[in-house]
């Protein structure tokens, strides 16, 4: 479903991604772990072309993201075409980024019909908050609206960039419940998170990143309980203690 191949990305002289390759199958849930600054957010943002890659490429369902292959060359797509591709890729931000001047329902309806919007709000358990403005919602509720909005374009994959790290501890659970639900219903998901318990329970595969490369990947039981690499071990011992 998602194919990331040999992706490099630098900001100025800082090389943030140094050749990342990752395949995600349809219906698979991949959790990305790694220390701060290791390039997790950057990787997610290249997948929906919020960041342009310097080298390598990304496809979703066989479609090249951001480029078209013609005559042995990659032609950059027009913004309009990129925007259209992004409707296949849901993105959930750490700090929600809801539109503050629109109600919960209007936020979702911005990219879907009203009936659909209501359906997705219901799916995240917020049908009764349809007419509330983001400011009137708790952080957990705001993130659930953001998830409903990301689902409303009926994307093929959904990317989550630390969806719970801006939340008070007691609100983390309600958002993880929604993610769990999505995973169970067969949504293809890539989740960057520091919630190890959630990773262990929900992930089909865990990917550990450090310094712009994927150091280790595999089923949760392997990566979390029997990490092969020193760096993985060091990271896990820090977050698990």
């Amino acid at each position: 479903m998602i194919e990331v191949l040999g992706v490099h990305k630098s900001f100025g002289s800082l090389e943030v991604l140094r050749g990342v390759s990752l395949d995600v199958a349809a219906g698979e849930v991949v959790v990305v772990l790694g220390p701060s600054g290791s390039g997790k957010s950057t990787l997610l943002r290249t997948i929906n072309h919020l960041e342009k890659v310097d080298r390598g490429y990304i496809t979703i369902d066989g479609d090249l993201i951001g480029y078209r292959r013609r005559g042995g060359k990659l032609h950059e797509l027009k913004e309009r075409e990129i925007l259209k591709q992004r409707r296949d890729i849901g993105f959930v931000f750490q700090n929600f980024n809801l539109f503050p001047h629109l109600t919960a329902l209007e936020n979702v309806a911005e990219v879907a019909g009203l009936a659909d919007a209501r359906h997705f709000l219901e799916r995240v358990g917020l049908a009764d908050k349809a007419d509330a403005y983001p400011r009137q919602l708790s952080g957990g509720q705001q993130q659930r609206v953001a998830i409903a909005r990301a689902l409303a374009t009926r994307p093929k994959v959904v990317l989550f960039d630390e969806p719970t790290s801006a939340l008070d501890p007691e609100l983390v659970g309600e958002v993880l419940d929604v993610l769990r639900d999505l995973a169970r219903s067969g949504t293809t998901m890539v989740v960057v998170t520091h919630e190890i318990g959630f990773a262990r329970e929900v992930a089909d595969r865990i990917v550990f990143m450090d310094e712009g490369v994927i150091v280790e990947e595999g089923p949760p039981a392997d990566v979390l309980d029997h990490p092969v690499h020193e760096r993985t071990r060091a990271f896990l011992s820090k977050v698990l203690s």
């Binding site: 001047h101 911005e110 990219v111």
Partner: protein
């Protein structure tokens, strides 16, 4: 150790909620109020008793037909100058913020040029344009409403005044719109882009409504200053409010009374504008209420 002396003072014994509350007092506020009231009373007393203010003349002219017509002209100039100025200002702001260096330079140059030229100079220039270009048909950049005119003689003094006010206003409006747009959180654009919302719709539905929060107070300032600034076009002998009172006191020499006629009209209309501003701002603050 004797018990009793060691027990900490307990609030249970003297229930605080039963005590009456004395609000904090602000004696200096009352001194200030008294001071201002005395000054105001003196001022009003002077207005009423000093015959030099000449209230009978004021009353005779305040609703005179010529004055009402002039008020109408002032309103037309303000409304047309504002509407055209802000429409053009949005276009210039979009140019200025364009990723294309050329378009951005065009926007920048427009703002630079029209902020540099004093309004009165610009107005006189348009008023006298027929001396400059007698035989040319006119194509004004950013001014499509005038492209269709074939000959210069078709630009009436009123048309020239509106053109001048609008072009001048557009430069300021552009900067106000731009400041509003850059005040919108980057995450909003990222979210809109991630959702694949088309560019124009992003601007119209996401950016502009949020930018309005900071655009509005500045824009209201501009409208009010344009409204009073229309008095500048009196140099073009257009019968707006200020020109009209000048004509009348030129005839009857009742300068103070007629200036008061203009002043009171300016105050009334500015008040209406301020009330309008309050309501529009409240509309765009939706989502900010709890």
């Amino acid at each position: 150790m004797t018990s009793g002396t060691l027990t900490p003072p307990s609030t249970k014994d003297d229930d605080l909620s039963a005590l009456p509350v004395v609000p904090a007092r602000h004696p200096w506020r009352w001194v200030g109020v008294a001071f201002v009231l005395v000054l105001a009373a003196q001022f009003v007393h002077g207005l009423v008793t000093n015959p030099a203010w000449d209230w009978p003349t004021f009353a005779r002219y305040f609703t005179a037909q010529s004055i009402l017509t002039a008020v109408g002209t002032t309103i037309v100039l303000t409304v047309a100058g504002t509407a055209l100025g802000f429409a053009l200002g949005i276009v210039v702001a979009v140019l200025r913020m364009s990723k294309s260096p050329f378009l951005s330079a065009v926007g920048w140059t427009y703002i630079w040029a029209f902020r540099s030229i004093p309004l009165i100079v610009q107005l006189l220039f348009w008023f006298n344009i027929s001396y400059l270009y007698q035989r040319l048909s006119l194509g004004i950049p950013f001014g499509p409403e005038f492209v269709s005119f074939e000959t210069i003689s078709l630009i009436s003094p009123m048309g020239a005044a509106i053109l001048g006010l609008a072009l001048h206003q557009a430069a300021y409006a552009a900067e106000i719109v731009r400041s509003g747009v850059i005040s919108v959180d980057r995450g909003q654009l990222e979210a809109a882009a991630a959702l694949g919302i088309p560019r124009l719709r992003q601007f119209r539905r996401i950016v502009l409504p949020q930018a309005m929060r900071s655009i509005l107070p500045n824009a209201a300032n501009e409208v009010i200053s344009l409204f009073k600034g229309t008095s500048v076009v009196s140099v073009m002998a257009i019968g707006e409010l200020f020109y009209q009172v000048q004509v009348i006191y030129g005839r009857n020499a009742r300068v103070v009374a007629l200036l008061m006629v203009a002043t009171v009209w300016y105050i009334i209309l500015t008040t209406l504008l301020s009330i309008g501003q309050h309501h529009v701002e409240r509309y765009f603050a939706r989502g900010d209420r709890r």
